[in-house]
Each structure stands twice: as structure tokens, then as C-alpha cells.
Subunit: 332 residues, 2 copies
């Protein structure tokens, strides 16, 4: 393979495609399953439990940013989505849409990041696909991952399960991912030291579920941010949520950027934070595992209108709907 960048032949189904896939993908991901390269991977000896399944397309732009890249993002997004159901990640599929002419060095960096993150999250990539589109019909690299996992008996988590009286916890400060993306797009013309929070959280959830099975809801506040995710919970669980603004953790520099640009941190995307909803008695298990940056930020209330409301720092009550317009496109 003499080319230094992706050619249309890499998507042909022929010899060059096989050489590319073997050299750049299979070689990195060998695990006893993936390298069989059958049309479907075969998995054995899985636990006979409830199964969770999730998928996401990743179209983030740019593909490299402070704190991560599209490779880290796709693995974290998938194991985190599985963890929201209480599932331990079991297997992931990985499918690329490459734009013609993408430098192979870019693929190499992304693959290294995928391998490292999958190792950290302790999940196997078992099957995949690569397609190539003409220059101008994509944007370097789009990735789809689909994940499956198994749920321990006793865990019963869903955005439909929040109950009046439950505490609403956020596992750390919000907005860092979207501000890091603004920085990567050079929308901020002053120096801010903000990194994306992208991280795999599944191990922490596994530990949490060994301590208590009494967690009602875990949700990943990505696109649309904390406020949109909480609105979904209100709608699905047919309840209201009352947030306390002063208790919501936002890093100083994220707040400064929001103040200057006019964005609301409650609508900024996160890639390494969970909303966790549980009875008050189980708060401490969550706070202990996620450390001092995790905060109780509100509670579930009975409300026939299923509203999310914010008790503001100045003592007012503000209704917070879903994100109305896009703050920043293609942040994941």
C-alpha cells in the first residue's frame, strides 16, 4: 500500500481495502474475535441477563480537540450510554465513513485513541465496517459505534423511573466539552484553559451498582446539555424537577466564556458527566464514588405539567425548556 492517504479503492471490497483494514484496523484491535473478519462476529459465554443495546454516530468537528478526539469520544459515548442502563459493556462495533484523501496518519492517531480508550473502559471491539466517500461528501471521518452490554439482576434504571422525592445529582462541573469545542473551532479569541471532559464512566457505575441497586435514572447530558436531558426525564417519568442554581457546579473559565458569548451552561454538552437520580438515602453512595466534584443539584417533584424549574441565585423561579436553537452544531 503506497498511498499516504485514503483512496476510493479502500472502500472497494477488493485487495486494497483488505490490506488497509488489516494494517490500520485489525492489527490494532486483535482480540480473538474481530480478526476472524466474518460478516458477523460470534460471541459466546455471555451472561444470561437483560441485554442493553445503544448506537451513536459521531460527526464531531474538528476531530481533534483539547482533552480528546473523535476516537476517544466514540468509545466513551457508547460505554456511557450502556452504563446509563446499568449495563456492563460487553462488545462494541466500529464503523467508519472515511472521506477520500484523509491522511493515513489521521486514521492511525484515531485508532490509537480508540484502542487506549477501549482498554480503559475494558470493552472489546468485535466487528466493524469501512466505507469511503468522495472528497466533499463527508468531513474526514465519521464513526458509528454500537454497543451491547448485560445488566445485573436487580438493577432497573430508566429515564422513566424518577420518583418524587428523589435527589438529582450531577457527577461534576458542566459545559467543559462544548467550551473545548468552541476553543477548537477558534470561536474564542482569548486564552481559556478548558479541556473536554470526555471520559468513560462505566467502571464507576459498576462500582455504584455493587453498593446500591436503588438508582432510578442515569442520563448522559450530551447534546442539549443538562436542561434538555432533565426535560426528557420530566417527560418520561411524568414528574417535575426543581433545580437549585447555586448548587450546579460550573468551572470558573466555562462560566466566563458563557458570560462573554451569551451561552447558558445548562444547555452545554458534556461527554464525561452523568445525571444520577436516586432516593435521598442513596445520595451518599453516589457522592462517595464520584468524589467532591459531584453535587446534589435538585430534586424530583410531583408536577402534572412535567416542568423543569430553576431556583435562581437571585431567588426567582425560572422555567427551563428544552434547547430551542442549536448552540454549537456537531459537538459529538
Amino acid at each position: 500500500m503506497n498511498s499516504k492517504s485514503v483512496t476510493m479503492n479502500f472502500g472497494s471490497g477488493g485487495r486494497e481495502m483488505h490490506q488497509f483494514i488489516n494494517a490500520y484496523i485489525v492489527e490494532k484491535l486483535k482480540n480473538g474475535i474481530l480478526e476472524k473478519l466474518d460478516d458477523a462476529a460470534i460471541l459466546e459465554n455471555f451472561p444470561n441477563k437483560k441485554l442493553a443495546m445503544t448506537t451513536d454516530n459521531y460527526v464531531v468537528s474538528p476531530i481533534f480537540f483539547e482533552g480528546g478526539d473523535i476516537g476517544k469520544l466514540c468509545i466513551c459515548g457508547t460505554v456511557n450510554d450502556l452504563a446509563t442502563s446499568g449495563a456492563k459493556p460487553y462488545a462494541i462495533s466500529l464503523a467508519f465513513i472515511l472521506e477520500e484523501d484523509v491522511p493515513l496518519d489521521v486514521i492511525k492517531r484515531i485508532m490509537d485513541s480508540i484502542v487506549e480508550t477501549a482498554k480503559e473502559a475494558d470493552v472489546k471491539i468485535v466487528t466493524g465496517d469501512t466505507k469511503v466517500v468522495e472528497k466533499g461528501k463527508g468531513d474526514l471521518i465519521y464513526i458509528n459505534t454500537c454497543g451491547i452490554g448485560f445488566i445485573d439482576d436487580g438493577a432497573n434504571l430508566s429515564s422513566h423511573n424518577a420518583k418524587p422525592g428523589d435527589s438529582v445529582i450531577i457527577t461534576g462541573p458542566i459545559g467543559n466539552h462544548e467550551v473545548a469545542m468552541m476553543k477548537a473551532r477558534e470561536m474564542i479569541n482569548f486564552d481559556v484553559n478548558v479541556k473536554s471532559d470526555v471520559a468513560p464512566l462505566n467502571k464507576k457505575i459498576e462500582t455504584l451498582l455493587t453498593k446500591t441497586k436503588n438508582i432510578h435514572t442515569i442520563k448522559d447530558p450530551t447534546r442539549g446539555g443538562l436542561a434538555s436531558a432533565l426535560n426528557e426525564i420530566c417527560e418520561h417519568s411524568k414528574c417535575g424537577i426543581r433545580l437549585i442554581e447555586k448548587d450546579i457546579p460550573v468551572d470558573r473559565e466555562v462560566r466566563a466564556v458563557c458570560d462573554l458569548i451569551g451561552f447558558d451552561p445548562l444547555y452545554l454538552a458534556n461527554e464525561g458527566k452523568f445525571i444520577i437520580i436516586c432516593p435521598k438515602d442513596d445520595e451518599n453512595s453516589v457522592l462517595t464514588i464520584f468524589g467532591p466534584s459531584a453535587k446534589v443539584i435538585g430534586e424530583i417533584i410531583k408536577d402534572d405539567k412535567h416542568l423543569l424549574t430553576l431556583l435562581t441565585k437571585s431567588g426567582g423561579i425560572r422555567k427551563m425548556g428544552m434547547l430551542e436553537t442549536i448552540q454549537l452544531p456537531r459537538i459529538c
Copy 2:
């Protein structure tokens, strides 16, 4: 939602995205699982067997063609890939990358096609994702599907399992999908009546496996065609394959197009045909289920060089490698 086409807001995570997804996707796919819209779908009561997992990105261009469209293609491709492992399809994920400004009528047609094909293949879509990219960063619609299925005890199918003496069967005439794509791209300036063969084959494989568990390999000759797929089997099973050219079924009009354009039908993509490899004694089970268009086209032989060779109509022996250059890009 007043817009008649996709806007960047449809990928925002906010209100308009939720409205779009509910109206255009969830409403069509309701099945007791998908409409929960949790970050991961939860599946229960699955059979405790071997699990198969497969994924594909679909970037076919154009998205509508004689005999099918990208919606039909994505469901067929996934259930067929599962069937190659002997798995009965159990659940599918569905993820879109939409280009800004795609008319909603297009999405509607594709969704109708997805629903109809999923019904025919008897598979549930349980989870999904929608991302939107700016105009000029995609091509109307790309789809990823990931499928999981379960394999009955006793079935042991893989491209690694072909054995010398086995028969090589093709379940029908080859090349129709790729010729239909040439027609859709107006590369053929004469009238040909060729439709894509895209079809779900999983039900037939389920029937076959109730008659015999003695099938060694099933393979989907898509990109790269029959010859590339058989080369993969030679490599994985460490054997040779001898094909008999006169026995390979090719429709008259497909052959005419190949003769005129200079394409070889053995390298043309198919979307509704299987290569099935089994002991001679099991040939009849396959031929009975797939009907008179299925043909025995060769046999597995011992060959340390793992070559695919063709006994030509004129009596010569020709080595057939993998597809060297692309015949037609983006055919699936």
C-alpha cells in the same frame, strides 16, 4: 415543525430534534422498546445461545434505485450478515447522518422502506441516533445499522470452515445489484431491464438450518463480488476453490452490460445472494430451499496457495484474485 427539509436544529439535542425524531422515526417504529428513547434499549428474555453481532455503514449513491433504496438495503444487509453466521436476527440499531436541507419527504420514503423491510425480515429496530451535518459535508443520507442475533446450538458457520470436497453454491444469478446501480447513475445509455436483487434472506437460512446443521460457510458477495468473497474464504479456510464458469448463473441483460462496459460479473456486487458451502450430501437441502435459480458452481479443493481458479468455458484455467481496482464506488 414548519420546515419541509432537515435543518441543523434537527441534530441539536433540543426541542426540534425531539419533534422530528418523534414524528418521522419513532411513530413509524414503535414496538414497545424503541419508543422508550432511553440512551440504551433494554432487551429481555432472549435465548441463551451464541450471539452474533454485525454492523455496516450505508453510503449508497443514489439512494433510490430500481428494486430498492438505502432503507431497504440497510435492513437487508444487516439481517443477511447475521444469517451468514446462522443467527436469527433479534434486534437492530438504526443511526442516520442527515445532510442539512434533505427534504423530509425523502426521509419519509426511506422510513417507509425500512419499516416494510424490517417487517418482512421479522426484526425489531430497538435503538437509534440522528446526526445532522452541514450541506456539502454529507450526501443526503448515510445510515448505519448494527444487528444482533442468536445462533441455534449445533450450527457452526464461518468463512474459516470450508473443507476440501465441499460444494460451492450460489443462490441465484449474480451482478444484478451493481448493474442496477450503473443504471441509476445513468452510466448505461441503453435500455436494460435489471433490478437490484436486494432482499432479506434470513428466513430461508432459518429454514435451511432446520433441515441440516451441516452448512460450513455462508457468505454475502457484496462489494468486490463473488470472486473477492471466494478469495476471502480461500484465505480464511486455507483451501483452494475451483469454479466452473459455465455453471455460474448470470442474467442475459447483466452479461450484455458487462460485455459492453468491460466489467466482469464475478466482481459485481450482489445484495440478495448467498454463497453457501456445504458437503455434497447437503447440496439438495440448499437447492430445494433456494429454488431453480440456485446452482452448484464449484468445489473446495486442497491448495497450499489458497487460490480461486476458474475453469473457463473454453476449457482454460484462470486464476481469479481479489478485485484490484474499484468497479463502481458507493454501491452499498
